[in-house]
Every structure is written in C-alpha cells, then in structure tokens.
Symmetry: C2
Subunit: 336 residues, 2 copies
DNA sequence: CCAATCATCCGAAACGTTTCGGATTTTTTC
DNA sequence: GAAAAAATCCGAAACGTTTCGGATGATTGG
C-alpha cells in the first residue's frame, strides 16, 4: 500500500526524485538513491502498475484470445501447448498475459477490438479463430498490434505464425505414394479453417504429380472432431470400398476414423493406412500408434509471443514466422 | 481514444454528468442521458479500464497462478480443464483473468504476493503449487483473497476447492477388495502434494477395515509422471511378485505402470489389475482402458472462480467447495 | 573572481476516471 | 405565493505514477 509519496516523505526527497531513483535515471546522487531504495524496501513498496500504465499509455499486457477454449476442445492439447509457448516467452519479458475467451456470452456483444481497447492490452495473439468470423477483418485492419496463429494474413499491424501446411500435406502424399498406395481418400477439416484449404491443396498437388487421382467423392469434410472423423470414414469406405489409405486433416479425426474402421472389421494398417495431422498427445497412445505430421505447437505460441513483443518493443514490422513440421511415422500406416 | 472529456465537450455537459449517465445513475435526465449515450457511440468511445481501476482501487482482474504450466505437464489435461472452468465462470462476470506462471525465471525473484500486488489483481486462484513451496504460507496468511485448488487450507482470505481424495481412495480400496484382491500394492505421488497424503490414508484405512494389509514395502512413491510410474511398478513387482492389484495415485503413473508391466510379460487385467486416479483424457484411449477415479476437473476450476468472485463481490467468507468424484470402471481391473 | 558547466534535485501538469459536496432550477406542498 | 422538496447538474479533488522544464548550488576554466 505504500506509495512513492510515502517514500518521498520518509526519505526527505521529492516524488520526482524517488521515481527517478527507482527507475535508474542517472541524475540522482548515489547516496540518495541508496537511501530511497532502502526506505522503499522498508515500507514494503511495490509499484502500482495501473498508475504507471495510465500515464505511460502502455499496459504491458498482451491479450491471448483463444476461441478454441471450449470444454470439448481440451481433447487435443493444441491450445494448451500454444498457450504454454506464449506464456514461456512472455514471462521472460515485462509482459503479462490476459486471457480472453470468445465462446462466452460476451462474444456476441463485444468485438475483439472492443475487448482489447477496454482492457488496454498493448497487443493480442489470436488463436483458433475461424475464417468466417465476422470480426476477423476488423482485427487485421485494426490499430492494435496482433499476431494470428495459423491464419496467414498480414496487415499493417498484424503478423502471423504458422506451419507450412501445404508442404506438410505434400509430404504425406509423397509418403503414401512411396508406400505404393494409389487408391487414396482424404478426410478434411471444415472449410472455415485456412489449414484445411492448405492441406487439401498440398495433398492433391503432391498426388497429382505422381499421376495419382484424388477425385471429389473421395474427399469428405469433417469438422476436426473425433465424431466427425468416424462418420466421414464410414461414408468414405462405403462409397469407395477400394481405398487403401486415408489422410486425415487432424489427428482427432484420424483417431475417429480408426475406431470406425476397426469396428467395421478393417485392420489398420494391413487393410487401410491412416495418416493424421497435428501429432497430438493422443496419437502416440492410441492403438496402433498414429502416423502423423508433427507440428511444433509450443513453438507456434513461443514465436507468436516473440513476434508480437518485438512489434511492441522495437516497432518491428509485422511479419510471419513459419515453424517446422515433421512426418512422424508410427504404426497406422504400412506398405500396400 | 475518445475520452469522457470529449463526450462532455461535444454533448455540452460536464464530465461528471457523462460519467454518471454512462454508469446508470438516477440523477441525470433521460434526455441528456440519451444525448450522451449517442455521442459516446458517435465518438466510438470505450471506457479506459485502467483509469477506472486507479480511482476505484479495483482492477476487476483475477490472477490465475498455475505452477504446473510447464511443458511436460501438458500431458495430462488437468491444468487446461481447470483453466477452462475458471475462464468459463469468470467470463460470465466482469472479471478478466491474467495468467501468472511460476516456473519461469521470474519465480525466484518475486513472490506470488508481490506479483499480485504489482499487477493489482483483486484475487488469485492458485493451482498446482507444492506443499513445500516456500511462499505457500505467505499467500494463505496474506491479504489478497485467494482460492487454492487441491490444497485444503483456509485462511482469513483464503478458501479452497478440492475433491474428497480420502473418499475416492477409499472407494478404490472397496472396489479392489470386492474383486477379491488381497495382495495389493500402491504407487503414490510425491509427499509434497496433499492429494498424495489423502489418497494413501483413504486407501489404507479402507483396506484395513477389510483386514487387508498394506505393508510399507508395497507402497512406492513416484512423482506423478509416467516415467516414475514405470520405475515404481518395476520396483514393486520385483520385491513383491505376488501382488495382483496396484492402485496408482495418478493416471499418468498408472499408464507408466501398465506399459512397464506389459513389457515384463504381465497381462492386464488377467495377472494384475491397475487402478488410476484423475481420469485424464488418455486413460480412455490407452489399452486396456484404465479404471480410475474421475474428478470433475472442470468443476474444480469453475467452483474456484465462483468462490473467489463471491468473496470479492459480496464479501463472502472464504470457504471450501468439494466437487464430486466417481469411480470409472474400465478394462484394466478385473476379478481375481 | 566571474561566467560557464555540471550534478543534483524539485514543482507541477498530465493520464482518464469516479465521487463528494454543493449549486441551480423546477416542482410540490400548504 | 413562499417554503420545502425533488430533480438535475457541475467543480474539484483524488487515485499513483512519469516527465518536462527549470532551479539550486558546486565545480571548473581562464
């Protein structure tokens, strides 16, 4: 509760001097500085960030807007890993993180920018937002520095971090073709995620380069959930009983597909190979272990924070960062 | 960027009136209120929370101090589920959440209370803190309203939420005895978690009520990780080859124990029954499915937020909330 | 020894709100 | 129609910092 004023009085100096002493300015005598620091400690002083923010017009907080923060989504650890990354980088700096959520009732009343403006965050990291979100443009065009996760758009104050989803999917195509598969299906995510588009394109291009067809009716769309993976797999195998490999745009859908196919008597990978995307925690524990594209999710968050804070502290240009990915071969895929 | 002042000027009223109009006070004429609200909208005004906080001495933020927020811990979804619960409740209120972390380099320099005082959070929820944490007492005795997760301690401004770990463990004892097991071992968590003590006590008491012994050398301590579960299981089975059932104080350790035992040629549950605790996501997907005590982790967070905000808004007494638990029978346990 | 330089300090304004206490005008009451 | 009450408004202080623009006294250079 002790303020700078109390220190000033007790130490017999002016408020200005206390402020300057505590902030390491050079125009204060070493002896008085010592005395000031001492009495500050004595009074158990801690600075009032709020008052500071008010005058500095900088809150030293960044907003973490995570829209996938709903209960069901705890399943994949994507969100938490991103958060951990953001948090780890931010905690090395002077910035604190305030959590915004968008699934709540607040969402529809207040736009993201409004939330940010009110809480006076210096910048914001946005994760899990859909491309059809009505406020996406608003935030990209807006004045608040922001970094998008997995949405490749750059604005005057907006950068992004992502992985190379096109390349990742391409590698899956390569891999499956290399195993001798030619009758291949795909279970994609919903169209309102950039990653869906990219993964489809990369996969398709990769296969067509090897003269392997991927007709429309062998591409089923889910919505990234396990449930939708089950349904999509059943639909796919019914209309195209000849497929020997399925690429799923998310691990969760891949896991759903596996259980559905197993329940229909298919053996994995002997009858059908399954490849996922994301390398979520589960994919290592499921039977058989899921072959997938591993993303550096933690790095996604870490780099997002880095990018944003660089923009804030050094007026760095908004730009993009691509983090690495890697094919993890496990037991759900095999030679034809 | 528009302030209350701008509105006042434009609407031709005083600052006071604008403030009172916008905050719904009764001593402002309905017509002037309308005009004020109108011009506020016109100027795209949004209130400056920081200025408000400064004068009100309330920041309307709560700190979420999660010390298990380290990379490895993303494995169990405990942390994120608690967070989701906290977030869900908080987002129905006027409170925002700021994330504190303790594994960072900041930790050793600044105590929790210092962090809270500087950021001027109105209250704090603490999760994953160890009982030997040097600052635990400080925070319980301190002036900042706080709610502890899974640490049953009440202070003048500190309440807690937890599950009944004693009862949960007791039920496991009941259950295993009911299956006919008499030669039973336990893999406990480290001693610096309250839950370890409670779970051990409950399990022991339950068994002894049924004249089943649980000698010291059949209780091995791990540290809640999968790795430690593996090691503990090997140690246990080596010194006590006769055990037919093992109770693990966490699912992660149980999963570790299962893989270790399987690698030694034991069949689960035919040779050895395994029961875990927590019902983490993984336990459902692992082979065989893990019998475990399910906790309402989401509820833990939700109730923690509720408790805290009640303390803040209505000066509610700090108190405790116990959320429910339940035995989930899966395939890792069977009749002897 | 005088002016210039330097080291050290401080007063006051500013940031954007809320709110206390009172002022002014209008309405009610008898 | 005057006093009392009600309705409506406002000035100014306060919250705890930072910082601009000087002020003061000591030191230096010639």
């Amino acid at each position: 509760m002790a303020t700078i004023k109390d220190i000033a009085k007790k130490a017999g100096v002016s408020i200005t001097t206390v402020s300057r002493a505590l902030n390491g300015y050079s125009d204060v005598n070493e002896d008085t500085r010592k005395k000031i620091v001492e009495t500050a400690k004595l009074l158990n002083y801690s600075p009032n960030t709020i008052a500071r923010s008010l005058v500095m017009k900088k809150s030293k907080t960044i907003g973490l807007l995570v829209s996938g923060f709903i209960r069901e989504n705890a399943k994949d650890n994507f969100t938490i890993e991103v958060m951990t990354g953001v948090n780890d980088y931010a905690s090395q700096t002077a910035y604190d993180i305030v959590l915004f959520t968008t699934n709540s009732s607040k969402q529809r009343e207040k736009t993201y920018t409004q939330l940010c403006k009110e809480r006076k965050v210096d910048g914001v990291i946005i994760q899990g937002i859909r491309t059809d979100d009505p406020y996406l443009e608003e935030v990209i065009e807006g004045e608040i520095p922001c970094v998008l996760v997995d949405i490749p758009k750059i604005g005057r104050h907006a950068g992004f971090v992502s992985t190379d989803n096109y390349a990742g999917a391409w590698e899956v195509g390569d891999y499956l073709a290399g195993l001798g598969h030619t009758s291949i299906g795909m279970i994609n995510g919903h169209e309102f995620a950039f990653v869906s588009q990219e993964r489809l394109k990369g996969f398709k291009d990769s296969l067509s380069k090897k003269q392997i067809e991927l007709p429309e009716d062998r591409i089923i769309s889910g919505d990234f959930t396990e449930e939708s993976g089950r349904n999509a797999a059943l639909k796919l195998i019914e209309s195209n009983p000849s497929v020997t490999a399925i690429f799923c745009a998310s691990d969760l859908m891949a896991i759903g597909a596996m259980t559905a196919l197993k329940s229909k008597g298919f053996r994995i990978p002997e009858d059908i190979s399954i490849v996922g995307y994301d390398n979520i925690l589960l994919s290592r524990y499921v039977q058989p272990g899921l072959t997938t594209i591993s993303q550096d999710t933690y790095g996604l968050g870490y780099e997002a924070a880095k990018l944003l804070i660089d923009m804030l502290d050094h007026e760095g240009e908004p730009r993009k960062t691509i983090v690495k990915h890697e094919l993890m071969e496990r037991d759900s895929s095999a030679k034809l």
